[in-house]
């Protein structure tokens, strides 16, 4: 979570609100923030940390591990209409790449800004070439994009 908090400024600039969820109580969230995270990130965790003690949210989102009693790593990018545009679920021992999350945010925001007229090809980076979706592109992707 500290990795996300560390890049929170960038999420803020992109207009992205972050919500963190684990099965820990609000009290534990508070102490973790005060005792540890605030020493990794200036000012502590800037976004809400939700307490999902019974795993109700994790179950609905398909990330609750019944045996371990925890919500495993899952991140969901939700657009302004409430639509999940991207989701990634990992088992506990491997962390996420915040870099990749930010890239996806920028890509989905770009697509949204063009009203879906442009698509971001594999590995797209901000400023990179996009694909202009339409009949003229059919069978011609090779002309404008190479892996």
């Amino acid at each position: 979570m500290s990795a996300v908090a560390d890049r929170y400024g960038e999420f803020k600039e992109l207009g992205v609100e972050v919500i963190a969820v684990s099965v820990d109580s609000m009290f534990v969230h508070k102490v973790w923030d005060e005792e540890e995270l605030s020493k990794m990130v200036d000012g502590g965790i800037p976004f809400p940390m939700v307490a999902d003690g019974a795993g109700n949210l994790g179950r609905v989102y398909g990330v609750y591990d019944e045996n371990a009693g925890v919500d495993i790593r899952g991140r969901f990018l939700i657009d302004p209409d409430g639509v999940i545009q991207a989701m990634e679920v990992l088992t506990p021992p491997v962390g996420r790449s915040v870099e990749e999350t930010i890239r996806q945010v920028k890509a989905f925001q770009h697509v949204r800004a063009t009203g879906g007229a442009e698509a971001c090809p594999s590995g797209w980076q901000p400023g990179g070439a996009t694909l202009k979706v339409g009949p003229d592109l059919v069978g011609k992707v090779w002309k404008v994009w190479k892996p």
Binding site: P48, A51, G53, G58, V60, R75, L77, G82, G95
Partner: protein, 82 residues
């Protein structure tokens, strides 16, 4: 219950941007929660849950974020190492 602080995290039973299910006239609570499938391209299930935010205890309702991009991050637990 109303707007009392959420005692525990609860999915509202709807997706964000949809009105809550109408109480059936029969008076029988339709307990069969709509099986919500979470999938890319689908609406996010709404929820209301207690949260800690910058020194305060608060309530987070996902549908309050409509109109904004949201990154919803689940993680295994506080004080874990990754």
């Amino acid at each position: 219950m109303g707007d009392a602080p959420a005692g525990c995290a609860r999915p509202t039973g709807t997706v964000v941007g949809e009105a809550p299910p109408e109480t059936t006239a029969k008076g029988t609570e339709s307990k069969e929660e709509k099986r919500m499938s979470v999938r890319a391209g689908g609406k996010a299930p709404d929820f209301k849950a207690p949260a800690y935010h910058k020194g305060q205890f608060t309530t987070v309702k996902l549908s309050d974020y409509l109109g904004k991009w949201v990154l919803l991050c689940f993680y295994p637990g506080d004080f874990t190492f990754v």
